[in-house]
């Protein structure tokens, strides 16, 4: 009996330890530090709290309105004559590199950084910079509110936000709910190969090759539909990381991925073993700035005019080049 109890406690001890460790790992770094260094618990926690408080203050101070630089509004903008000084609430996607990316502490962004109005920290990315450049050109004021992509159209319809620039493809289905600006970015699929690959430059070169694709993506559908036409075989991976590894390792010859996404990863060196071989596959959808149907016509007109202007003066190309290199 005594032995059995001993055995039980021996078995329980490691279980407890493991469960404690598991508990710790899910909490934030600050809390882990506080709990592990038992002796200095009080001090550590206080430090963490103070830090959090300072961050909050900073955010509040910096957050809110990003006032346009008036010196630049001298350009011949005409759509802004109806602008009544409203501070527009404009949404971007909470996380969709390279269109909107949250700035990690201690890192620097390649271009303009915008502080968000809803305590989401600082954001950068193609969408964020284009919006900022257009706002500066047109002279309107806005608050950037990153949100989950799926919440954006409902928020537009309910009037919580006035506009959105969220890497959103212009589709007929969405046009029933929202008004889109002119397309501000063509966001199609790219065919990506190993950086050492030289023999794939067109679809005809895919004969006898192996495609890697991610389960359930448009890339998978395209690969399966075209495998017989071009004579390649299809392998399916459950996630993007495995699919990209397969091509980097040479276990597959090519993959299909959203052009801006893969191109950005190559640009920042995350996928240094890959390169884009064909940059547009099939139909290429355009991304658009959206407002609720029939509302905020002034904002939409200013966006379109501003977009045309920054395209003309080179600001647009400059911003895109920060994230996507060909």
């Amino acid at each position: 009996m005594k032995n059995a109890r001993k055995l039980l406690s021996l078995m329980l001890a490691p279980t407890l330890i493991v469960s404690m460790l598991a508990g710790c790992s899910s909490s934030t770094a600050a809390t882990t530090a506080a709990t592990t260094t038992a002796g200095t618990t009080a001090a550590a926690t206080t430090a963490a709290t103070t830090e959090a408080a300072t961050t909050a203050v900073e955010t509040t101070a910096a957050a809110g309105t990003t006032t346009a630089d008036s010196s630049q509004t001298t350009a011949a903008a005409s759509a802004n004559q109806d602008y009544d000084g409203t501070v527009y609430k404009i949404a971007c996607d909470a996380a969709y590199a390279p269109f909107s990316i949250q700035l990690e502490t201690g890192k620097t962004a390649p271009g303009t950084v915008v502080t968000t109005a809803n305590n989401m920290g600082d954001y950068y990315g193609i969408d964020v910079e284009l919006l900022d450049a257009i706002a500066k050109y047109e002279g309107f004021t806005y608050e950037l509110t990153p949100m989950d992509f799926s919440a954006i159209i409902p928020a537009l319809l309910s009037g919580t936000i006035d506009g959105s620039i969220a890497g959103m493809n212009i589709t007929d289905e969405r046009k029933e709910k929202v008004d889109f600006s002119d397309g501000y970015y063509a966001s199609g699929s790219a065919l990506v190969v190993n950086k050492d690959n030289t023999d794939i430059t067109s679809f005809e070169d895919l004969d006898g090759k192996v495609a890697a694709c991610k389960e359930g993506t448009t890339g998978m559908t395209w690969s399966q539909d075209n495998a017989d036409t071009y004579g390649f075989t299809v392998t399916v991976y459950p996630d993007s990381a495995s699919m990209m590894l397969a091509v980097a390792n040479g276990q597959a010859d090519f993959l299909i991925e959203d052009y801006p996404v893969i191109s950005y990863q190559i640009t920042i060196g995350e996928q240094a073993d890959l390169k884009v071989a064909i940059d547009a596959i099939g139909e290429v959808p355009q991304n658009g700035f959206a407002v609720a149907k029939g509302k905020n016509a002034t904002l939409l007109a200013m966006f379109n005019e501003g977009l045309a202007a920054i395209r003309a003066n080179g600001t647009y190309d400059q911003i895109i080049a920060e994230y996507i290199s060909d």
Partner: protein, 217 residues
């Protein structure tokens, strides 16, 4: 309801293609695992300290790693493009199963009372003769249910190899679902196919067991 069965017929060829790959990998993997398992078992009952430690280390490491991690690590980290997908899959499954195999063999052999070895040795049989003629025939009978268990378990584990793009039965179903979203139908078809194959295997192993248990009723 009628659709359910007519769709089964429609997807059956694709699913059977997946099953074929599942069976090839399972059978070849287990065959290889048995070979590795025998060597490891020989190590661990050899009485030679270093060999025993090597076998113990291998078994601890392999049994302690989930097959998913082993597959991703071996395929993307070690094998890379030095081998095709199919041999890679077989080797990965074999490594995983070999540790269990070694333990099944060891347990079977050690289940035979050591007195029998002593008796055989005292009658003038060599160690290997005693092993071959007295111990192994009895041990084999004890091992059969566990071996069958391991085979069934490995057969189902092939589904995990879909992580490295092996287009076996589960993956075939998943890829079809990714296009038509019929999760209920396709997964149940796959489950039925697995069930039929494993029921057949179980029946077969019961027959073998009965054949060999002439001394018991």
């Amino acid at each position: 309801m009628l659709d359910y069965f007519s769709d089964f017929g429609k997807y059956l060829p694709a699913l059977l293609g997946g099953l074929k790959l599942t069976l090839i990998i399972a059978v070849a993997g287990i065959a290889l695992a048995i070979i590795i398992g025998i060597i490891l078992c020989a190590f661990s009952i050899s009485g030679i300290f270093v060999l025993e430690k090597i076998a113990g280390f291998y078994i601890t490491v392999v049994r302690g790693i989930p097959l998913m991690i082993l597959a991703l690590f071996m395929y993307f980290g070690v094998i890379k493009n030095s081998l095709d997908l199919l041999p890679s899959a077989i080797i990965i499954l074999a490594i995983n199963a070999s540790a269990y195999m070694a333990e099944i063999f060891r347990a079977g052999i050690q289940a035979i009372d050591f007195g029998q070895t002593e008796a055989a040795r005292s009658l003038g049989l060599s160690y290997f003769q005693a092993m071959y003629k007295i111990i192994l025939p009895q041990a084999f009978k004890i091992m059969i249910p566990s071996l069958m268990n391991q085979f069934i378990s490995s057969l189902k584990d092939t589904a995990i190899l879909s992580a490295i793009s092996v287009n076996e039965l589960t993956m075939t179903a998943k890829v079809i679902i990714a296009r038509n979203y019929n999760a209920f139908e396709l997964y149940s078809y796959a489950a039925i196919i697995y069930l039929i194959v494993i029921a057949l295997l179980t029946y077969l192993s019961k027959r073998v067991e009965r054949k060999l248990s002439y001394d018991k009723r």
